[in-house]
Amino acid sequence: MSMKPVLRTKGPDIAFGIVVMALGAVSIVEGLSIRPSRFDPLGPGAVPAMIGVALCILAGAVLLSTATSLRIGDGARLFTGLEDEAGSEPLLWQRALAVFVTTLAYVAVLELRLVGYLGATFAYTAFLLLVLGRRDARGTAIALVTAAVTAGLLDTIFRRLLSIDLP
C-alpha cells in the first residue's frame, strides 16, 4: 500500500500547532493560578502547568517543522484510516458534516425536551437512513420500519425495563 506524502496538510498542521499551543498556554495560566495545597508539595496546579509547558514546546516543534519543512520526529501514522487511499478520490466531507449537524440537532431537541425520546429518536433515525440511503419505495419502507423498531426498542429497554429517566 503506497502512502503518498500528504503535502496538503500544511494548513491544518499550522492550525493544529496553534491550537495546541493555545491549549498549552491556557493550561499554564490556569494551573499557576490555582492556590497551592497545604497537603502535598506539588499542589493541584503543578501538573496542569507542566502539561501546558510540554504542549507549548511540542506545538512549537510542529509549527517549526511545518514552516521549515524540516521533519522533526514526523512520519507515518499508526492509526490506519482517512488516508488509506490518499488523494485518489475527494472526501465526502459534506455528508459527514450533515450527519454531524443532524446529530447535534437531535441532542438539542432532547435537551430542550421538545419531543420525547421516542419521537425524537424515530425522527432522527428515519431522517438519517433516508438521507444516506436509497429513497425508493423499498428503501424508504425499510428505513421507516428500522427507525420505528430502533426507537421503540431502545425506549422500552431503557425507560421501562431499566427505569432510566429518558428526556
Binding site: 425522527a123 433516508l130 427505569s163
Partner: protein
Amino acid sequence: MKRRNFLTTSLAAATIGGLVGANVARAQAFPAKPIKVVLPVAAGGASDAIARLFQKVISKSSPQPLVIQNMPGGGFSIGGREVTGSPPDGHSVFMIHEGLISADAQGVFTPGVNSLVAIAGTGRDVYSIVVSGSSPFKTLKDLFDAAKSGAPIRAAVNIGGLNHLSSLIAAEPAKATIRPVQFSSGADSLRALLGNQIEVIFTVASDVFDYHKSGQMRVIAIMGDSRSPFLPDVPTTAEAGFPSRSELNHYWWMHKDTPPDRIAWFRDALGAAMKDDEIKRAFAARLIEPVFTSGAALQADIAKKKLVLGELVERFGLKQK
C-alpha cells in the same frame, strides 16, 4: 414530502402522548412514576449497598418502584444538582451522609446544602481508629506519643472527606500531628493499611470488623460515646484519654420546596422499612446502629452538624475559595 409527514406524525404522536400522560399523572396520587434515588457515590460502596436494600424493601410495598441512580463526582455536586434541578414533586431523593454538610462548608458542594431538606436519617455508624495488626501501637497513647516524638504517623484519608476530618478531630486533644495521605476510596485505605504503606486509618467499624477479628488489623479506639457492642475490648477515645467524636449517618434529602405531604410519604416508607426483618438483619450484620431520626429531632441534628462541621472546616483550614 414523505419526510415532512413522518416528522409531523411523530411530533403529533409525542405531543398527544405527553398530554395524556400528564393528565393521568395529575389525577393519580403520589407517587405517579418511579422515584429516583440519586446516590452521589459510585455503585458498589457501603452507602450504595444500604440504599439498594431500602430500594428492595420499599419497592415491595410501594405503588411505584424506587430507582437508584449513581452520579458520583464533584464533591457530591453532580448528584446534588440532579436533585435540585429536578421538579420538587417528591419523585427525586438524594441519599448521602453528613459528608455532604462538610463538603458544603468547604465550598465544594455547589448546589448548596440549604437547597435541600433532610427528611430522615437511617442508621448511625461510628468512626474508629485502626492500625495494622503488626503495628507497634497498642493504644491510642502509643500512637500519639510516636507522633509527638516526630515519627511519621500517616493516615490514609480522602482529603476533605469525613475520614480526613475524623483524623483531625482525633488528633486535636493530643496536640499531635497525623499526616494525611490521599487515598480516594475506603477500599484503597484498607489496602494501604494491610500493605503497611501508612500507619493508621480512620473508618467505620463495619469496614474493619473482620480484619480486627482475624488479627490483620487492630482497632485501638472508637470515636463514640460508648464502646461498640461488637468490639467490647476496644476503648472509646475518651477512655483512652483523648476524647473525640465522629460518626457517619445515612441521611435522605429532598429538594427544599417539596410539598410536606410527599416528604411525609417517603419518610414514613423509610420508617416502615426500618422495621423490616431484612433491613434489621443487614444493619446488624454491618454493625450499624439501627437509629431512625426524623422530624424536629432530625432538623436539630442537621442544624447542629452544620454548625459543628462548619466550625471544624474553618478551624482546620479546609475551606476552598
